[in-house]
């Protein structure tokens, strides 16, 4: 059994109570940071740790922070708690059961960029979680961990929650900023990047919940300790959300570099009814359908190895398909998802997701015309590299990989 850092609450009951969290070393990193470390020292330690963003892009966190100019003030930090990728349910567990470690991480990130206000953007469906988080923030203010002149130093910090209202696109960081500012969630053109012109047109860091939850470990135990976990280029542990046709779906915190095989067969206890595994989607609905070959199963789940299979590790929402699942039916699901969630700003995505879903409708309902499989692939290919943000790009990945790897599944639908 690997040691748990992010899901420590599974071993420590009541960790979502402030007193319990403090008893287990909570806010020691925070106190150490504010009283004896400079913001630059925090940033350096995080750079040394090699921590990479857990929201999907895998960008080095400390490097991201160092892009903020010290000539424009104030700075903001925004926690991205808009967890909406189909197959991802890790941040929800952290927010519900280990909220203080997440908040301590958010506070450390804020101190590192000298932000005095931080926002937590939660998807609208997490309204209960937001309410409880507001209570935790109030607890921290009462206990003197948040507020003015913390620990007698010239540093003040406030945290506010902001609730979305059901829009997958708001997980995209610039759409998220638009949403906080009281606009519809449509991504911005970049540059300027949020590090220069972010929230309220000011320098802003946006980090995922899981990324932030790693920070108290890194500042508390040191970068060297953190680097001892995971792989050389992907240090640390990661929460893998395992779902689909496995016997034991759930969140599993494992060192980066653990193989798919170990996740699926040791932790997930294998496939329902022990039938043959067919494909792996390592990054939720945004990922390719990777044929579950021996080689794929033995691939380490880290930021370097997974792309060799044809798609990114993303937020590590691993969806498993077995032989009972038809790839055409699955793509019918993903195209409808992206059609519904396309924000409508750029034409290739707005039109492309619509047309892809129309063609998958025809194929699934037995009304397919000759050449529809190739038409579907052609629409997807034409969208690639033309969309304003990753949503449109990602909508094409499952379509193309499914047709390339499981074309027979589509043809079977035509013969129906």
């Amino acid at each position: 059994m690997t040691e748990l850092f992010l899901l420590r609450h599974r071993e420590i009951p009541g960790l979502n109570q402030l007193s319990t969290y403090i008893e287990h070393g909570g806010f020691e990193a925070w106190k150490k940071a504010v009283t004896s470390l400079t913001p630059e020292e925090i940033t350096n330690e995080v750079k040394l740790s090699g921590l990479r963003g857990r929201g999907g892009a895998g960008f080095p966190t400390g490097v991201k922070w160092s892009f903020l100019p010290n000539t424009i003030w104030p700075h903001y930090v925004v926690a991205n708690a808009d967890e909406s990728e189909p197959g991802t349910f890790k941040d929800r567990e952290i927010l519900e059961f280990n909220p203080f470690q997440f908040l301590e991480g958010l506070m450390l990130a804020s101190y590192a960029v000298r932000a005095r206000s931080a926002y937590v953007y939660l998807r609208g469906e997490f309204s209960q979680i937001a309410r409880r988080l507001d209570e935790k923030i109030a607890d921290l203010t009462r206990a003197g961990y948040l507020g003015d002149n913390l620990f007698g130093k010239d540093y003040s910090l406030r945290i506010f929650t902001h609730l979305g209202a059901g829009a997958y696109i708001c997980g995209e960081e610039t759409a998220l900023l638009e949403s906080i500012e009281g606009r519809i969630g449509q991504p911005r053109l970049r540059p300027p990047f949020p590090a220069i012109e972010g929230l309220f047109q000011l320098p802003t860091v946006i980090n995922n919940v899981e990324t932030l939850t790693n920070l108290p470990i890194i500042i508390g135990k040191g970068a060297a300790y953190f680097r001892g976990l995971g792989t050389e280029k992907s240090p640390g542990t990661k929460i893998f959300s395992l779902s689909g046709r496995v016997k034991k779906p759930g969140n599993y915190e494992l060192p980066l570099g653990t193989t798919f095989r170990e996740l699926i067969y040791t932790h997930g206890e294998g496939i329902i009814n022990d039938v043959r595994i067919k494909a792996i989607m390592p990054a939720g609905a945004s990922s390719a359908l990777i044929p579950a070959t021996e080689e794929a199963l033995d691939t380490p789940m880290d930021y370097e190895s997974v792309p060799n299979l044809g798609c990114a590790l993303g937020s590590a929402s691993v969806i498993i398909l077995d032989e009972t699942v038809n790839a055409s039916a699955l793509v019918h699901g993903t195209t409808h998802f992206f059609k519904h969630e396309s924000c409508g700003k750029c034409t290739p995505c707005r039109e492309g997701t619509y047309w892809m879903s129309r063609v998958t409708d025809r194929i699934e309902s037995g009304r397919a015309r000759k050449g529809d499989i190739d038409l579907l692939k052609s629409i997807a290919s034409q969208m690639q590299n033309k969309c304003l943000c990753a949503l449109g790009e990602f909508s094409t990945v499952s379509v193309i990989s499914a047709i390339d790897n499981f074309r027979a599944d589509f043809e079977a639908r035509l013969e129906k």
Partner: protein, 184 residues
């Protein structure tokens, strides 16, 4: 006079305090949540009140209500049952489950029962993929997750909720008759 401001002065003050003074429009979404929590949906009048408080045109507020799935501009069922049928849930029988619940309630996905109590709709991923089939209930702005469901379990829950609402309705009616006045 802005009725919303009159009704919730403290909540609105604390919402506005979360954002810089020159960024009032950031309060639009929290204000809409406040409206929906109390009225169950967002009327045109409410949109214009939110617009006034956040210092924007009503069309800006209307576009936000239209864009975000969880904001409703019509009164539908008092209980919204939102079933995730996204890929991970579908692989665990969510569609069959949805159809069975709908059949028992005598409506199709997206429809409301004739008594106006229940709307059942299909929604996208709710981050509970390991505990499918599942649904979230939305009553006003109160959202609750219900995981590891069977149609039977959901129907039992629904019927008990519906019964309590009918009883409540009757009680309010009696009170109305009693004091002869209407509630605010």
């Amino acid at each position: 006079m802005n009725q919303l401001l009159k009704k919730h002065p403290n909540e609105i003050e604390s919402i506005l305090a979360r954002y810089p003074q020159d960024q009032k429009r950031a309060a639009i979404m929290p204000l809409l949540h406040l409206v929906q929590q109390n009225a169950g949906y967002i009327s045109r009048e409410a949109m214009s009140e939110v617009a006034e408080i956040s210092d924007v045109d009503i069309t800006e507020v209307a576009s936000i209500v239209g864009f975000y799935t969880l904001f409703h501009d019509k009164q539908e069922g008092r209980i919204r049952v939102q079933v995730c049928t996204d890929i991970a849930c579908e692989m665990r029988g969510a569609r069959e489950y949805l159809l069975e619940v709908c059949r028992e309630m005598g409506i199709k996905p997206g429809e409301t029962t004739p008594d106006g109590l229940v709307t059942i709709e299909e929604v996208k991923c709710l981050a509970a993929c390991d505990r499918a089939p599942m649904f979230q209930s939305q009553i006003g702005d109160e959202i609750e997750f219900h995981e590891n469901q069977t149609a039977r379990k959901t129907l039992d829950w629904l019927r008990s909720m519906m019964a309590s609402m009918t009883v409540h309705k009757r009680a309010v009616k009696t009170a109305d008759n009693g004091d002869g006045g209407s509630h605010d």
